[in-house]
């Protein structure tokens, strides 16, 4: 399963280590830092949950179970806000 951020009415910028995004449908601004900022560009291109977990393990040197939990929480938050496409 490939997860991908929607492209319509969603714009974003990377500032230093942070992602600032505007969800045009809800006129909602998001500030994403830490592990979310690492995962965001991967979700722009499209990535599987395994690839996201692997990116966190490599980026932060954390164990796989914690990376999987962080990834699931982040993906769930994005999904709840309607930012992911199927």
């Amino acid at each position: 399963m490939t997860l991908r951020l929607r492209t319509e009415e969603l714009s974003w910028r990377k500032i230093d280590e942070e992602i600032v995004a505007l969800d045009g449908r809800r006129s909602d601004y998001l500030a994403i830092n830490g592990s979310g900022a690492l995962l965001w560009p991967l979700l722009v291109d499209g990535a599987t949950p395994e690839q996201l977990v692997s990116a966190l393990v490599n980026g932060y040197g954390i164990d796989e179970s914690r990376a999987a939990a962080d990834t699931a929480a982040f993906v769930s938050a994005l999904s709840d806000q309607g930012l992911l496409v199927a």
């Binding site: 009415e9 714009s11 974003w12 910028r13 500032i15 230093d16 942070e18 600032v20 995004a21 505007l22 045009g24 809800r26 006129s27 909602d28 601004y29 500030a31």
Partner: protein, 342 residues
């Protein structure tokens, strides 16, 4: 000068390094250039400037959203001036600060009605915009960037703005990439940017000169010279472009920069005295001798006028402080005024 674009951006970085502090960088609207430049060189970026960068990104993200909504709402001509359109000509568009979208439209009342019908909300006091160059600002709920629909481009009272139809005739697609949104041709845009800065504070900010040079393409200089002559803007334009050449291309220093815009080359803030001087001296400097008295009259009246929301007593107090602070940087003077108001 416009052939050597990378040279201009190197020069801008030198000006950033020359500025005596963050207040001067903000005064010249170079603070976002400083953030990018310092970060690239591993220098510490103060928290205040990081916050400015964050705010600027929030504004920039809203540009395509608001332009697309305005475009969908109104079927007439929409021409984006200054702000993000000028930013798009920079090596790094994120270094250009803006807080509104200035759109010249062919039928301002109809366009305003169309945007309001689509969900934009009118702000400001209607009386303040009856004769202004733009109609009441329009906001989209939740988005801090505002839209201003222009009846005419902003220019000093002592110059005549060109007819909007003439500006639309030579328009080009906007560099923001939003389909159906126009931008002025490079030469026209450079002239409009110059006129806008002269309507506020002539030769006050380095960023204004950078914008002008950035939008001019290789052929733009000659076209702008010709248009300035046609519109009766030659003095203002010559003064502006000579200042830009001196500051950004190391050309000879014109008298204006030696007399009333001395703060530009050292990239420092203007003092209170210099600020008043440039508002009054600049129009006289830029107009043909026959028109200079009228230009002086307009500039002096503007400088001596009280703000719409202050009493004459307040104005007298403010003027007294300005005299006492004549050699103080403008931002320090403003901070003092705010403290005394609290």
């Amino acid at each position: 000068m416009s052939d050597n674009r990378s040279g201009i951006w190197r020069r801008v970085e030198e000006l950033v390094d020359r500025a005596p502090g963050t207040a001067a960088l903000r005064a010249h609207r170079l603070h976002l250039v400083a953030v990018r430049s310092w970060r690239a060189r591993g220098r510490h970026v103060p928290a205040g400037l990081r916050a400015d960068e964050h705010s600027a990104a929030i504004m920039a993200l809203a540009v395509p959203l608001l332009l697309a909504r305005a475009r969908a709402a109104y079927s007439g001509s929409l021409m984006l001036m200054k702000g993000p359109e000028a930013a798009a000509h920079r090596e790094d568009p994120a270094t250009r600060y803006f807080r509104d979208l200035d759109l010249l439209v062919d039928d301002p009342p109809a366009a305003q009605r169309a945007l309001v019908a689509r969900g934009f909300i009118e702000g400001g006091n209607p009386d303040d915009y009856e004769d202004a160059q733009h109609l009441r600002p329009l906001a989209w709920p939740g988005v801090p960037l505002v839209v201003e629909l222009h009846r005419r481009p902003n220019c000093p009272q002592w110059l005549m703005p060109p007819p909007s139809q003439e500006l639309f005739r030579g328009a080009v697609p906007s560099r923001t990439g939003v389909e159906g949104v126009l931008a002025p041709s490079p030469a026209v845009h450079a002239l409009l940017l110059a006129a806008h800065s002269w309507a506020h504070r002539p030769l006050a900010r380095l960023a204004d000169l950078i914008d002008i040079v950035a939008v001019l393409d290789a052929d733009g200089r000659t076209v702008a010279d010709d248009l300035a002559r046609q519109w009766g803007w030659s003095g203002m334009w010559r003064t502006t472009i000579a200042a830009a050449d001196a500051v950004l291309a190391d050309r000879s220093c014109p008298l204006s920069l030696r007399i009333w815009a001395r703060h530009l080359r050292p990239a420092r803030e203007s003092t209170v005295l210099e600020n008043h001087l440039l508002r009054i001296a600049a129009p006289v400097w830029a107009m043909p001798l026959a028109h200079a008295p009228r230009a002086f009259g307009v500039a002096f009246t503007q400088a001596a006028a009280k703000d719409s929301n202050e009493s004459w007593d307040d104005k007298r107090r403010r003027s007294g402080k300005a005299v006492a602070h004549a050699f103080m940087p403008e931002s320090a003077h403003v901070r003092t005024l705010k403290r005394s108001d609290e």
